[in-house]
């Protein structure tokens, strides 16, 4: 363990991982329960276009990714609720559209092929000091706003219609939530990588759901799985020189499979 903390970059990665690992399940549980899981995938691809723009115009790619992701989350939400096109169609248009844009932009400036790879799959050396500041500030904002309307979000996820009749501003809160989810997805890019973000959001919640507990207990289990996987994944990837995103997601997947196996096994035994 000694050598681990000799490097500044790994300390930054661990700090960023701690924040992202903690927020991911809070966003993820609502995405999963509201059947919004695919939004995470779409928004992460939109973030890739944002990263490409950032690299091209030499602005911190994390900032352009956050802007791209949040702006398109609002547009996607509007398209979905306008009922002019199907919800999942809106998602696939944005997914392939932003990927097309990213490819063209990357092609235009052939210089940053190596960089792009670390954004796609995550890297423990990508987290720069400014990135850590941005991640910390946004994490604080996301947590503050989420706790502001946490109980309303539970109600909306469970029964949107009744929530509205009880006087909760469902539409406004939906938009707020989708913006927060978009911001969360963008700040997870440096560590997890664009292609694996949805696993980070979805897997801990899906695993926790198998335990069939109350909402609070489910969220707590998801938090434990998320933080454990992110932190140990980062440490393992440092020592074995693996991709951190891949390691974290494989750990989560392993826990998910163990839980499924354990749950089914104990059910058949009874």
């Amino acid at each position: 363990m000694g050598s681990l903390f000799h490097y500044d970059f790994i300390i930054r990665a661990l700090e960023a991982g701690l924040l992202i690992g903690a927020i991911a399940p809070v966003i993820g549980i609502f995405l999963v329960l509201r059947r919004y899981s695919l939004i995470a995938d779409t928004l992460s691809h939109v973030s890739l276009a944002g990263v490409a723009v950032g690299l091209l115009i030499k602005v911190n790619p994390l900032i352009t990714a956050i802007i791209a992701s949040t702006v398109s989350s609002v547009v996607i939400d509007k398209l979905r609720t306008s009922k002019k096109i199907y919800g999942e169609t809106a998602l696939s248009i944005f997914l392939s559209g932003s990927l097309a844009m990213a490819i063209i932009l990357i092609g235009l400036a052939h210089g940053f092929n190596v960089d792009i790879f670390s954004y796609l799959f995550g890297s423990i050396v990508t987290v720069k000091n400014t990135d850590l500041y941005i991640i910390s500030i946004l994490s604080a904002i996301i947590i503050a706003l989420l706790s502001l309307f946490f109980k309303e979000l539970i109600y909306i996820s469970f029964d949107e219609e009744s929530a509205q009749v009880s006087g909760i501003k469902v539409k406004t809160l939906n938009t707020f939530f989708i913006i927060l989810a978009a911001a969360m997805i963008a700040i997870a890019i440096p560590i997890i990588g664009i292609l694996l973000i949805s696993a980070l959001l979805v897997l801990p919640t899906v695993t926790a759901l198998q335990y069939k507990k109350s909402f609070k207990a489910t969220l707590l289990i998801a938090e434990i799985i998320s933080l454990f996987s992110v932190m140990s994944g980062l440490i393992i990837s440092f020592y074995l020189n693996l991709s951190p995103g891949g390691t974290i997601v494989l750990l989560m997947l392993g826990i998910f499979c163990l839980t499924l196996f354990y749950k089914n096994f104990s059910v058949t035994k009874n």
């Binding site: 309303e152 539970i154 219609e161 929530a163 009749v165 006087g167 507990k213 109350s214 909402f215």
Partner: protein, 201 residues
Amino acid sequence: MVGLLKPTSGEIKLFGQNLNNFKDWHKLGYVSQKAVNFDFLFPATVKEVVEMGRYGSKGLFKNLNKKDDGIVERSLNQVEMWNFKDRLIGDLSGGQQQRVFIARALAAEPEVIFLDEPTVGVDAKTQEQFYALLKKLNRELNLTLVMISHDIEIMTKETTELACVNQSLIYHDDPANCIRNNYIEQLYGEKNSVNVIAHKH
């Protein structure tokens, strides 16, 4: 009528206020048609579901306090479901779930409860118990219950006042009269969907 759909014409008034700037949402409870059609995997205990009934009257950023806990317990006791408070809502039977959703509506301490086709997909025996429970609440809590249903037979039997709506209001009076006269024919004359709104006072 509860603000989920915008009227194509005219205006809707609740407690004398126009619906567009209606503020007293806590005065009405709502048990939706989809009540027993929710996501059975949703991780919420019976108690957590009934607590949702308190959220509407609480502001943002305010947690439930002791008083809310008391109201939640009382509401669950009123539908005789307090013993199930720690069970997952998805694990209960349809009739039990219905009781929990009524408890959630009660927890908001409303003056009127709207029930939108609450007995769709429920067997006859559960339905009977359900109406017995509604009668009890109606009597003991002095609560107005507004029921929207397609089941005209039950409606004429179980309600004290009846309004038949098929595009427009056809009938609004004592339920017994509705059968005696040929309002039913008028109601079913058109092939459009038929709603019966019945008040219990």
